[in-house]
């Protein structure tokens, strides 16, 4: 359950942002958790629910975006879409591809007071 540690990281990041941008409450928080990242979004939501109590994030609506995976296939010399490590290239069936994006873990934006 490393999602608990990630939830605590998100809270720390938001509190740091609150000092910079002078806000006191977060209404909504938007995250990007790539489909090839090592994070389970449901576990992350659960982790957030327990770490936000009594904090600036309490009551905030959390929206988790799931960017898909894009990769570069060496054999096709082209960009392809993948959804898991070990996937075959949808074009040539090979597995000589390098992930370009889809493993990100980011705080995108927030609506604050």
């Amino acid at each position: 359950m490393h999602e608990m540690a990630l939830a605590a990281s998100i809270l720390g990041l938001v509190e740091d942002q609150a000092r910079r941008d002078h806000f006191e409450r977060v209404r909504a928080l938007r995250l990007a958790i790539g489909v090839l990242s090592h994070v389970d979004p449901r576990a992350l939501e659960f982790g957030l629910q327990s770490v936000v109590r009594g904090t600036i994030l309490e009551g905030a609506k959390v929206v988790i975006e799931r960017p898909g995976g894009t990769a570069y296939c060496m054999d096709c010399s082209d960009t392809i879409e993948v959804s898991a490590h070990g996937d075959a290239c949808p074009r040539c069936g090979g597995n000589k591809w390098m992930l370009v994006s889809g493993d990100e873990l980011r705080v995108l934006d927030m609506e604050v007071d």
């Binding site: 002078h22 806000f23 990242s37 090592h38 070990g86 990100e104 934006d109 604050v112 007071d113």
Partner: protein
């Protein structure tokens, strides 16, 4: 001040242009515990249905940025000391500590060595390591399921960095959580034993994808098992094409020379870099 009517702005009297009782509902309180005239923004505005919106802030920050900052610091220390740092990961019971104890015994005297041991509780593993004469520090993670880079930064104050040598970090036995946390190591080394399933790399792809070396352990048991070691190796390569794969037995010593060769080649790279 009020973002709609401007009432309450410094130098202005209170509401003048409209009646708050019959006009818009005053959208925010002015009774918070600070003086006005400082830097917070009051630019929210009511929407058509009378609900005000908050202020939108673009953040675009990596959730792991703090861990990654510590990891960069650790990596710089390792580079300055030409220390090869290896992060050993596996499920519980794959044989990390046994391989480590054997490795330390065999490499001792040939290169400076050090160990950071991670476990939820006890210093049993560090005690086993210290019995080899190699400096070891135990990190108890408590309820945490993985080591993070700040724990390593703390531990590095407690043992001498093995200059031009090897620092082994034995992570918490867990094939899931440690995958996402860069400790500043040169490589993650994942161990999988032949008493586990051939499909482990497919079930836990994140860890196998993050590793530079896959070590298949306990191969001395193969004659007693129905285990397809080729299938395991194929699955590991399917998840991670660039990783090296080694097979060994800590008990019999089979395959250890290749493991030591792998370490030595990496160590030469660190020293030469």
């Amino acid at each position: 001040m009020c973002g709609v009517c401007g009432c309450g702005q410094e130098g202005q009297p209170g509401p003048a242009g409209h009646d708050h009782a019959s006009g818009h509902e005053h959208p925010h309180h002015h009774d918070h515990l600070h003086e006005h005239g400082h830097s917070h923004h009051h630019d929210e505005h009511p929407t058509e249905d009378g609900m005000r919106e908050g202020r939108l802030i673009t953040v675009e920050r990596d959730i792991l940025e703090k861990n990654n900052r510590f990891a960069r610091g650790n990596r710089r220390l390792f580079a300055d000391a030409a220390t090869l740092a290896l992060n050993l990961v596996s499920s519980p019971g794959a044989g990390k500590t046994s391989l480590l104890v054997r490795t330390l015994g065999d490499l001792r005297g040939k290169a400076p060595l050090g160990v950071i041991e991670g476990d939820q509780q006890t210093s049993l593993d560090a005690d086993r390591i210290r019995s080899t004469g190699v400096p070891a520090v135990q990190i108890n993670t408590g309820k945490m399921c993985h080591l993070d880079a700040s724990m390593i930064a703390d531990a590095l104050h407690q043992i001498p960095l093995p200059r031009r040598g090897v620092l082994f970090v034995e992570n918490v036995g867990n094939l899931v959580c440690p995958a996402g946390f860069d400790l500043g190591e040169a490589s993650k080394v994942v161990l999988v034993s032949v008493t586990e399933g051939e499909d482990k790399p497919l079930k836990y792809p994140d860890m196998f994808h993050a590793a530079d070396l896959v070590i298949i352990t306990k191969v001395d048991l193969l004659p007693h098992l129905e285990f397809d070691v080729e299938a395991l190796e194929g699955n590991a390569r399917r998840i991670n094409r660039r990783a090296d794969v080694l097979r060994l037995s800590t008990r019999t010593g089979e395959g250890l020379a290749a493991w030591y060769g792998w370490i030595d080649a990496r160590r030469q790279q660190m020293v030469g870099a």
